[in-house]
């Protein structure tokens, strides 16, 4: 008995340790399965599509054959370089605008709102209660040519085209509005985490309020700035609703191109190639940006 018990105990211990080690992997399975079925497989299929050959060149309706036609990429880029560049231009403008609007807002909610904090946070996410599409349609009315916003700004002589709707201003305004909560919330959460003692300490160490803000608050809120700009920039670069509903024919973005290639023209290889270019470009931009921001250790 005495000799058997310890060895039995050791085995039991071993089994327990083994189970404990495998637990994290077991927990990963549902997520991995989901990603495999709904991300990796479609991604692979998209890659395959982007390299297909047309059965009859110039007539997409005739269908496509599997192949390895790398030229799809260069022809797509040549045809749509303008929309491609415009996407990143609009997305960058919307991101900067959203940052300028969201930072003071998040700062106010985090430090100055007192008992209204939760109420204000609900207001920030309140737009999500209505559909993205409905809200963007609403902006058509707000920015309509005979609406008071356009009239008012036009009377100030600030509009070269005498209208807002169907101009780049409307598209960038729509993008900024639609992604503002994605900028505000991460900013709020990183500002809210800042220990107010640190700001007091900065004042105690001869920093005037604005210097303290610049030297302590801003660096400590950088993770929120990085997260917020990514969450705004990435979806904005691929967005097509705003350009479609608020922009004119000359304001089309890469999303609109992909949309029309897939749904209307049915030139699947071109659409797939554009999607891939967009995906890779965003990946590169994000990687460079996160490296540059130097916030890996803060994230």
């Amino acid at each position: 008995m005495v000799a058997v018990l310890p060895s039995g105990g050791a085995k039991f211990e071993q089994a327990r340790v083994g189970r404990r080690k495998s637990t994290p992997y077991l927990l990963l399975i549902p997520g991995l399965a989901w990603l495999t079925v709904f991300f990796l497989v479609p991604l692979f299929s998209l890659a395959q599509t982007s390299l297909m050959n047309a059965r009859q060149p110039g007539n997409p309706d005739a269908g496509f054959l599997p192949g390895f036609n790398v030229a799809n990429y260069s022809s797509a880029m040549q045809a749509y370089l303008e929309q491609y560049a415009r996407s990143f231009e609009y997305a960058a403008m919307a991101t900067v605008l959203a940052l300028i609007i969201a930072y003071p807002l998040a700062y106010f909610i985090a430090f100055r709102s007192g008992r209204f904090k939760n109420f204000l946070l609900v207001l920030v996410v309140a737009p999500f209660f209505a559909s993205f599409l409905i809200r963007t349609y609403a902006w058509r009315t707000i920015l309509a040519d005979d609406g008071f916003v356009t009239q008012f700004i036009n009377n100030l002589g600030l509009l070269p085209d005498h209208r807002i709707i169907a101009t780049p201003i409307a598209v960038v305004a729509g993008l900024t509005y639609n992604f503002l909560p994605f900028m505000t919330l991460p900013l709020y959460s990183s500002l809210e985490k800042i220990d107010v003692r640190l700001i007091e300490a900065a004042g105690d160490l001869y920093a005037k309020p604005f210097t303290g803000f610049r030297k302590v608050t801003v660096p400590l809120s950088l993770p929120g700035v990085v997260a917020g700009t990514l969450l705004t920039f990435i979806p904005a670069a691929g967005d097509y609703i705003n350009a479609q509903l608020l922009g004119g024919p000359t304001d089309r973005m890469i999303g609109n191109v992909i949309d029309s290639q897939f749904i209307q023209i049915r030139d699947y290889p071109t659409a797939a190639a554009m999607s891939f270019v967009l995906l890779v470009t965003i990946l590169v931009v994000v990687t460079v940006y996160v490296r540059r921001a130097g916030t890996e250790e803060l994230l």
Partner: protein
């Protein structure tokens, strides 16, 4: 680094601070001697941290003035006064390394490169952290972070350095070590240190002058040994160490001594150690000043009683003795285990004696329990902090 010039005193003149209807600090007047180590001691919620924050400029007094030397600094912003704080949670900037944390105040004051380097290195040497200059605060232990916080404040050569419970988060052993360390640093730089704490032992170990604060008021101020020897209120008697207290009536005078009738006998004490010379008086004596009589002794106060409990603590033995003074308030006696104290066990009848000169007399209207519960609470808080660190 020691300044030869006379270091200015800090004066608080009739300072009051209210938050809504709550008065945190009530008409406080206080002079902190320049160049000394000053402790503001009191239980949590007594207003000591608010007082410190007003000196730092982080709060503005509702009434009254704060003077540094003869300059009125009451309404100066924190960045306009030459006073630096070591925060309770250290408040080190997590995004800056140790060097830059320490250099922060110098750079804000426009000190230039080479001098910054030289001053930061000097102060890092003082706190023995030179080797860690390029680490981030999160990579340091609690004790090291604490020393960075001290260095970051000291490097500015402030007129006054404020320490807000700086050792609260450290474990007992490290705390003892840092007490000695801080004392050494203070005597090396000669800056006025104001140290806020609820730990009476810490205050007595470190400070040249202690002010005991209670409910927004200063109860008593003085050198630790003086205050321990002759507390002026029941709160101080109970909060700063322990005391046996009993109500008595003054019956007469014999030369320089007062005679006081207490339940079950009479006590004699020097008149200059009593708060009053007629009427009611609270008689007090420290537990270690009392001893169990085993031989005939002259010129001592006496009280008889029955031993309820004996607990041996190694260095000393603590006796709990029920006396006629107040059956609900047994007397505590500490006897050093040095001269083979008499074999005493629970249930024995003993006579307790102490010299006249060790007796003190407090205002008869004081509450015998003032400071008592609070002392227990403060000890609890300190213990909880210790337990957390383990």
């Amino acid at each position: 680094m020691a300044e030869q010039a006379r270091i200015e005193d800090l004066h608080l003149v009739h300072v009051t601070k209210s938050f809504g209807t709550f008065t945190a600090v009530d008409d406080l007047s206080l002079t902190v001697p320049g160049g000394g180590f000053f402790a503001l001691l009191g239980p949590s919620g007594c207003g000591k941290t608010t007082t410190l924050r007003m000196v730092a400029g982080l709060e503005t007094p509702s009434e009254g003035q704060i003077l540094l030397g003869d300059r009125d600094i009451t309404t100066r912003r924190p960045y306009e006064r030459s006073i630096n704080t070591v925060f309770q949670s250290y408040a080190l900037f997590p995004h800056l390394d140790i060097f830059e944390n320490v250099a922060f105040g110098l750079r804000r004051q426009g000190v230039k490169g080479a001098e910054v380097e030289q001053r930061v290195n000097a102060v890092l040497e003082l706190v023995e952290l030179t080797a860690l200059a390029r680490r981030k605060p999160a990579q340091l232990s609690g004790g090291q972070q604490q020393r960075v916080a001290v260095a970051r404040a000291l490097v500015n050569r402030p007129d006054v350095l404020l320490l807000d419970e700086p050792l609260g988060a450290l474990d007992l052993k490290l705390r003892r070590q840092m007490q000695i360390e801080l004392k050494r640093i203070q005597s090396e730089v000669g800056t006025t240190f104001i140290h806020v704490t609820h730990d009476q032992e810490e205050a007595m170990t470190m400070a040249d002058t202690i002010a005991v604060m209670n409910a927004g008021l200063i109860e008593q101020m003085g050198a630790p040994a003086e205050m321990y020897d002759l507390p002026r209120t029941a709160f101080v008697a109970n909060f700063l160490g322990q005391s046996n207290l009993v109500h008595g009536q003054i019956t007469g005078r014999d030369g320089a001594d007062l005679l006081v009738r207490v339940p079950g006998g009479e006590v004699r004490l020097p008149a200059n150690r009593a708060a009053d010379d007629s009427g009611g008086l609270i008689i007090g004596v420290r537990p270690e000043k009392m001893r169990i009589a085993y031989k005939d002794e002259q010129n001592v106060n006496r009280v008889r009683g029955e031993v309820l409990d004996v607990s041996f603590t190694g260095v000393a033995t603590q006796y709990t003795v029920e006396t006629p003074w107040d059956p609900d308030r047994p007397v505590t006696v500490f006897e050093l285990n040095d001269e083979g104290a008499p074999e005493v066990k629970a249930g024995d009848n003993v006579e307790l004696v102490w010299e006249y000169g060790f007796t003190f007399g407090l205002d008869g209207d004081d509450d015998l329990d003032a400071g008592n519960e609070l002392a227990a609470e403060a000890a609890e808080v300190a213990e909880a902090a210790d337990a957390e660190d383990e």
